[in-house]
């Protein structure tokens, strides 16, 4: 047993593992059932934003509600595409580079940001995000400014001896598998971190930074670590997005986009690791289904948000917990009370 994994009993864990494996296998088989390239595109976008939303939650569980996350995503995207475009580096190298650069900026911004907490942190982070986006506008020679950057190279084809060459330009299926693998990889790391001593320290800081530092948790250090991890994966997601979308505009990473990411996390539920995954899936895919509503389509997005707020206080992921508790209560009530 490891810290953070005490509560559930052994049998449940086994069922959980099978469920996860089944879900992942289902996701791997998905392209067989979906022949619409457009829906595949939507799934790919969902995967990318899932990475970003989960990494945002990593920052969130350390008590830092950042409104700059899309900007860090954009940072990774632009760094990766600029290196790939101008210096002809391979995207396999520039995608991690995009992550690292977002992480470096996250750490540089993070140290001064540890001076502020709670809502003040959110507000200063908002300005940091805006400043990063403004920076993209200043270096428009490389970023293309608001008009956007095009000519970003796609992922290069992979040749594995004995297997047919995987060409990323041929269809969206290789991209889907690439992003599925990337998402599973990133989420595994984030999950592992959250369920370790580090994750517990993050949650401890969020609950009471005073108590946390009284037991020797380095508040500033762990907060910057959370930012570093979160920004790294945001950068990775952004860089992957750049090489998939092959066009970038800085308006995709502004205030409203950061807020959107936050909505994904909050609607999904902050209490569970799966919250942002569910939130992103619902909020990306459902509005796409209702695309035909045209000008009425925003009501769907807004409606989902209100539904969640009114009926699911812990987000969509919290709904399962809610149902479970209600069910348990029901069972308990049915049981005859002990007479003692």
């Amino acid at each position: 047993m490891v810290a953070g994994e005490h509560a559930p009993s052994g049998g449940r864990n086994w069922i959980k593992t099978v469920a996860y494996a089944g879900l992942i296998i289902l996701l791997f088989l998905l392209p067989l059932f979906v022949d619409s390239v457009y829906y595949l595109h939507t799934f790919i976008i969902t995967l990318i934003y899932t990475i970003a939303a989960c990494s945002l939650r990593t920052i969130l569980i350390s008590g830092q509600l950042s409104i700059a996350h899309a900007a860090f995503m954009g940072l990774g995207a632009y760094v990766s595409s600029i290196f790939a475009r101008e210096l002809n580096w391979t995207p396999w190298l520039t995608i991690p580079l995009g992550g690292v650069s977002a992480m470096v900026v996250g750490v540089l911004a993070g140290y001064p940001l540890t001076r502020v907490r709670a809502i003040y942190f959110s507000m200063v982070s908002l300005f940091v995000g805006l400043a990063i986006v403004a920076l993209m506008g200043v270096f428009q020679k490389y970023t293309g400014g608001d008009i956007g950057l095009i000519g970003i190279p796609p992922l290069p084809s992979i040749t594995i001896p004995g297997l047919p060459t995987i060409n990323f330009l041929s269809s969206k299926i290789p991209y889907y598998y690439f992003f599925l693998l990337l998402t599973v990889f990133c989420l595994m790391i984030l999950h592992s971190l959250e369920n370790s001593r580090i994750g517990m320290s993050w949650k401890a800081i969020a609950q009471s930074y005073l108590v946390a530092s009284s037991v020797g948790i380095n508040e500033a250090g762990f907060r910057v670590l959370a930012l570093a991890v979160g920004c790294f994966f945001a950068g990775i997601a952004g860089a992957g997005y750049a090489h998939y979308n092959m066009v970038l505009t800085r308006s995709s990473f502004g205030f409203l986009s950061s807020v959107n990411l936050l909505i994904y996390v909050l609607v999904g539920g902050t209490g569970s690791f799966f919250g942002p995954i569910i939130g992103t899936t619902v909020l990306v895919i459902v509005p796409e289904i209702f695309r035909w509503l045209k000008t009425f389509a925003p009501f769907v997005f807004g409606g989902i948000m209100l539904l969640v707020v009114f009926f699911m206080p812990q987000g969509i992921a919290g709904l399962f917990e809610q149902v479970k508790t209600k069910f348990l209560h029901f069972q308990e009530r049915k049981k005859p009370r002990d007479v003692s």
């Binding site: 200043v138 428009q140 009501f299 707020v309």
Partner: protein, 287 residues
């Protein structure tokens, strides 16, 4: 003519600051008393502008009267919003964020569907331009300057001098304590939201005359309002004056020296540095 430019810039700073102050005032009020970041302020501001436009241009009644009606209508909308959307979630920061953001989306879409997104402008409230020795101010801006100043003063006096205002102040300091003292917090919250929304309607109507009306007119103003309130310090209404002046000064003078996107960056960097020196804002309480 450097002196002309300088004089005009001073006027620009004052006028822009008064615009910002007017927009941020209602936002600051809600943040102070209810303790919520009402992102929907931007959308309410837009709705206020549209109501004023519909009354003044489509229905064709007196402009100042339509401004007044818009104020009242949006104030009532505020009562509704407070009752249905804010009150159940006041203690839950995360849910209030989602609710107010959802309201933006829904209000924007409502205006887009009903009125359409054609860009409009409310005719000038005060037509004409005031000119003196190379400096000029349009009547609308002057009116905004006066109205903004009067409203700021009125809000401060209201809070300091009236019973309701003092109760607001008490709630802003300690809402649970105030409730224990027998203050009907929900009534105060409702009144505050109504006033905040009415202020947004005034701002929206005047901006509809100075700039233009579109369903998305609030998006950038929202960021400006947040900047001002944070600079001023959460919980300080008087600080909005200084916050607005600083932001107005930055936005009105930087474009003279730096061009294009770099102005944004410079302004933001200055604000970030100010906030890192004083995280609680210039007039905020100690963190």
């Amino acid at each position: 003519m450097i002196s002309d430019v300088a004089a005009q810039t001073v006027v620009n700073v004052l006028m822009l600051s008064s615009i910002y102050i007017l927009v941020a005032l209602g936002f600051a009020l809600l943040l102070t008393v209810l303790g919520i970041l009402n992102f929907a302020h931007a959308a309410i501001y837009m709705v206020g502008g549209y109501i004023c436009y519909q009354l003044a241009v489509v229905v064709g009644i007196n402009q100042w009267a339509s401004l007044l009606i818009s104020m009242i209508a949006v104030g009532l909308l505020g009562l509704f919003l407070e009752r249905v959307f804010f009150r159940p979630f006041l203690k839950d920061m995360n849910r209030i964020v989602v609710v107010t953001l959802a309201l933006i989306i829904i209000l924007q879409a409502t205006i887009n569907v009903t009125v359409g997104s054609y860009i409009r402008r409310i005719p000038s409230f005060v037509p004409g331009v005031l000119r003196f020795s190379g400096v000029s101010v349009s009547g609308d801006r002057l009116a905004t300057f006066v109205i903004g100043g009067v409203l700021l003063l009125a809000v401060i006096l209201f809070i300091r001098k009236t019973k309701t205002g003092l109760q607001m102040l008490a709630i802003s300091q300690d809402s649970d304590g105030a409730a224990l003292q027998g203050i009907k917090t929900h009534r105060i919250f409702a009144v505050t939201t109504a006033i905040g929304c009415a202020l947004a309607a005034v701002a929206g109507s005047l901006m509809g005359a100075i700039l233009s009306l579109s369903p998305f007119m609030g998006d950038i103003m929202l960021v400006k309002a947040i900047e001002i309130v944070i600079l001023a310090g959460i919980g300080s209404i008087g600080g909005v004056l200084i916050g607005g002046l600083i932001l107005g000064a930055l936005d009105a003078t930087l474009p003279l020296f730096i061009s294009g996107s770099a102005t944004d960056l410079t302004g933001l960097c200055i604000i970030i540095i100010l906030l890192l020196i004083r995280p609680q804002g210039l007039f905020g309480r100690e963190v």
